[in-house]
């Protein structure tokens, strides 16, 4: 049987971050749809969109900020699946400190990674909410990711770190205990999702449908705790190295599952609410990361496949 | 002096190969007048020498004649056409042997052939190169690299390299300076034989007055500061010259005459 190749480009090499895809690949859900998925990792959302625009990939996995900026630069693409409906960012501090609320960070230095810039606007929104003004009440310091962030904490260069949730989780798991200060409200700042070019939807809707169906099956599969061994195996099929430390991998998989489960399961896997988009939009405009407002936010995403995809679960 | 004014002994009809008129050279870098008003005519098949104290401009003159350096004034013509760049019918031998260190001795000798006519021709000329090496006495060092040759051996390899293409004009800058007298005498006689055989025109820079007189039809005596020809001495000894002629009284006269000229030149 001839399988059609679908290239998915992601901003980070971790397969755990896209475990529904990994599971669907390993369980043969994609093959059932006549698809063969290839995952390629680039470095961050910018190159991701560029690869998509260049036709090197069918589906991309960007963050909202970069995606909206690309939309304003004329990228004709739609966000079709909210892979991480829960905020993929958080503001964390060392557990040993006295900070328990974002307001405690007045006058402090907030470290931000440079990966996307998205966590910067995320953090900025939180401080805006409580009336703290950048460069007056707090300052950002670009510290980078991973080891660099650790170094920043250890040196005392930063008091808090605005990070991708999995970054924080990893630092935590590696023995540097962090406390999450993210207010509940900011969970709507959803993380990376799946994007395809308009032209693909127009020319090959079957591919989009088939891909989504398999993905929803994968997401559902991953969300069931008894499948943990199979998930581990699925991740290993892409990146064996990621699950060599099984304890570490299980803990991370658990955290990612929570993040990837929709707030309202009844709407189905992948569903996107306009409100969440508006929250992002406002935040990006306020921070200047988006130079001009998007005229019609409904243009940037679509839920048109969600029902069809999710129907596979009820069968 | 009578010797210098007499007619040339060579065939009077010999056509002029080289004609230098009023050649001057100034090295811009140090504003040094290396040559001034040098006029020289070399008839076909003639053998001429330049002699003059060190630094008087002999190498400069040869480089100009070979088209390696532009003259700052005057004209240089070879067979009627101005020399502006090197020409294949000129064989030049430099004061330094300049062998390529990555080639064996025989490949160095075959260099001009392989450059002009390709590898096959060079291979074909191998025997000829070996014969030349034998002639100059460096047989057996075909496969040696330049760093394995003594000073005189390198110089002899350079001579072979020049001779192998049988050029019609030879410009030689102290070709035998690193050779002992025995070999040198022998090489001088061979040089004469080769030139006569091929009717080649030779122009030799040398420090040995005896060598100049023995080999040349004309000896150009140069003086320094600025470098110029102070006298053309025609040598009227019969050809072919032999080593015995060095005992000829006329030979002695020539030598003494030139030595006096040089003496005077170096004193000014």
């Amino acid at each position: 049987q001839d399988l059609e190749e679908v290239i998915l480009v992601v901003p980070n090499p971790s397969a755990i971050l896209i475990q529904p895809v990994a599971a669907a690949m390993d369980q043969g859900f994609f093959a059932d749809e006549g698809l063969r998925v290839r995952v390629e990792a680039v470095n961050g959302s910018g190159p991701l969109i560029q690869a998509l625009a260049a036709g090197q990939a069918h589906i991309a996995n960007p963050g909202a900020g970069t995606f909206l900026a690309a939309h304003q630069s004329g990228l004709e693409a739609k966000w079709i699946y909210r892979l991480n409906p829960n905020s993929s960012f958080s503001i964390v501090v060392l557990d040993s400190t006295e900070f328990h609320d974002p307001a405690d960070l007045e006058g402090k230095i907030i470290g931000v990674g440079t990966a996307d810039g998205a966590e910067t606007s995320f953090a900025r929104s939180i401080f805006d909410e409580i009336g703290l003004v950048e460069d007056e009440d707090y300052t950002f310091l670009e510290v980078g990711e991973g080891g660099q962030a650790v170094a920043a904490f250890l040196r005392g260069d930063i008091d808090a770190y605005a990070a991708a949730t999995n970054d924080a989780a990893i630092i935590n798991t590696r023995g540097m205990t962090l406390r999450n200060l993210t207010p509940e409200k900011f969970r709507s700042f959803f993380g990376n999702g799946l994007v395809v070019l308009d032209s693909l939807i127009a020319e090959n809707p079957e591919l989009v449908e088939g891909f989504g169906r398999a993905l929803v099956r994968g997401a559902d599969f991953v969300s069931q705790p008894e499948n943990i061994d199979a998930v581990i195996q699925a991740v290993a099929a892409i990146n064996p190295q990621e699950v060599e430390d099984r304890e570490f991998a299980e803990s991370l998989i658990g955290q990612i599952v929570i993040r990837q489960t929709p707030h309202d399961p009844s709407l189905g896997w992948g569903y996107q609410s306009l409100e969440a988009w508006e929250a992002w939009h406002q935040s990006l405009l306020a921070s200047g990361e988006l130079a001009t407002p998007v005229e019609n936010l409904e243009d940037v995403f679509t839920n048109e496949f969600v029902e069809e995809w999710n129907s596979v679960l009820s069968e | 002096m009578a010797l210098a004014t007499s007619e040339q002994v060579d065939a009077p009809s010999a056509s002029t190969v080289y004609r230098l008129e009023n050649v001057g050279k100034v090295y811009q870098r140090n504003a040094l007048v290396a040559l001034k008003g040098v006029s020289i005519d070399l008839p076909e098949g003639s053998f001429s020498s330049v002699i003059g104290s060190s630094g008087c401009g002999k190498s400069t003159l040869l480089k100009i004649m070979a088209g390696l350096l532009p003259a700052t004034s005057g004209t240089v013509e070879l067979r009627g056409t101005p020399v502006t760049k090197p020409r294949p019918d000129i064989g030049m031998m430099f004061q330094q042997a300049t062998l390529l260190p990555w080639r064996t001795t025989i490949d160095n000798i075959l260099l001009p052939i392989s450059m002009r006519e390709g590898k096959a021709a060079a291979k074909a000329a191998r025997e000829k190169a070996e014969a030349l090496m034998d002639l100059v006495g460096i047989k057996g060092f075909e496969a040696a690299y330049a760093s394995q040759l003594s000073g005189g051996m390198a110089q002899r390899a350079a001579i072979c390299r020049m001779l192998i293409t049988e050029p019609a004009v030879l410009l030689l800058d102290e070709p035998f300076s690193a050779l002992d007298e025995i070999v040198r005498d022998f090489m001088n006689m061979e040089l004469q034989r080769i030139c006569m055989e091929r009717n080649a025109t030779a122009f030799l820079v040398t420090h040995s007055i005896a060598e100049a007189v023995l080999l040349s039809d004309t000896v150009y005596v140069m003086a320094p500061r600025p470098g110029r020809v102070i006298e053309e001495v025609k040598i009227e000894l019969p050809r072919p010259r032999t080593l015995d002629m060095t005992t000829d009284p006329m030979f002695g006269d020539y030598v003494r005459h030139i030595r006096r000229l040089l003496d005077e030149g170096s004193r000014t």
Partner: protein
């Protein structure tokens, strides 16, 4: 005057063939002409639609951004302060790489211990992805320019080492023998013979380093924040403002070209005996 012209038009070291057509074109014209050709090609590629403007901006977009960025730069805006930070990183990085690289190059070529024991580790160190060491530099030097300088030094050190090692070994046998007969110490032979004789090779290393030091500084800025041009490029890249990225890169490359040009001119004066130019006279 004419005398001078004649000598210059056919320097000894030149090929016999005289200047070709191209050689008659004055330098600025040929630089600009070639540049114009590149821009034209660039224009054609973008106009043809083969490449999305998200990846390769059009020349016109880039020009626009060049003007915007340039205006900011030359009116002392934030681009200028970013450029100034990056310039400091580059210059410090280069200076340190030159000094340390030459010393290590000498160690490695002059002592068997250096050649045998130190060199393999230096080689190994240089093959390692420098990015992986960035956190270490940050941990030690913090987020200000010191950690960027450290990475810039790391990236540009090796060309200097290799160039110096090769240069110091290139003195010819006759000169070495001369120094030996004069009973000159190793150190003095090094200073007065091997290093001068090796300058052409050392400068080859310096030229290569003068360019990689830029790469090192920018990479460090990409990874670890700070307020240099690398940061500006990153921000523009995240926003997919490719034209701005290109504009910033073009201004940045002027800095690189200037450093390279400086080293090239310096070489001409320092190694004056190697060129037909009057040099120091």
């Amino acid at each position: 005057m004419t005398v001078e012209a004649a000598e210059q038009s056919a320097p000894i070291a030149d090929h016999g063939d005289g200047p070709t057509l191209f050689d008659r074109i004055p330098q600025p014209v040929s630089i600009l002409g070639f540049g114009a050709a590149i821009v034209l090609l660039w224009y054609l590629v973008t106009a043809s639609g083969i490449v999305s403007p998200l990846i390769l901006p059009t020349p016109l977009q880039t020009l626009n951004q060049l003007i915007t960025v340039g205006a900011n730069l030359f009116t002392g805006g934030y681009v200028l302060s970013a450029m100034w930070i990056t310039t400091q990183e580059v210059l410090w990085g280069f200076a340190i790489a030159v000094v340390v690289g030459i010393l290590l190059g000498i160690l490695v070529s002059e002592t068997r211990f250096g050649e045998r024991a130190v060199m393999p580790y230096l080689v190994a160190l240089d093959t390692m992805p420098k990015i992986a060491f960035a956190p270490l530099f940050v941990a030690w030097f913090g987020f200000s320019i010191e950690s960027k300088i450290a990475l810039a030094v790391y990236v540009s050190l090796f060309p200097v080492i290799v160039g110096t090692a090769a240069g110091v070994r290139s003195a010819d046998e006759n000169s070495l023998m001369l120094f030996r007969t004069m009973g000159v110490s190793r150190l003095k032979t090094l200073i007065h013979l091997k290093i001068p004789a090796g300058l052409p090779q050392i400068f080859t290393g310096l030229k290569i380093a003068s360019l990689s030091v830029m790469a090192g500084a920018i990479t460090a800025e990409f990874l670890g924040g700070g307020k240099g041009v690398g940061e500006l490029i990153r921000i523009a890249a995240t926003q997919l403002d490719t034209a701005r990225v290109f504009a910033l890169i073009i201004y940045l490359s002027l800095l690189g070209v200037a450093l390279f040009g400086f080293v090239t001119v310096l070489e001409r004066y320092v190694v004056f005996w190697r060129n037909s130019d009057p040099g120091r006279e």
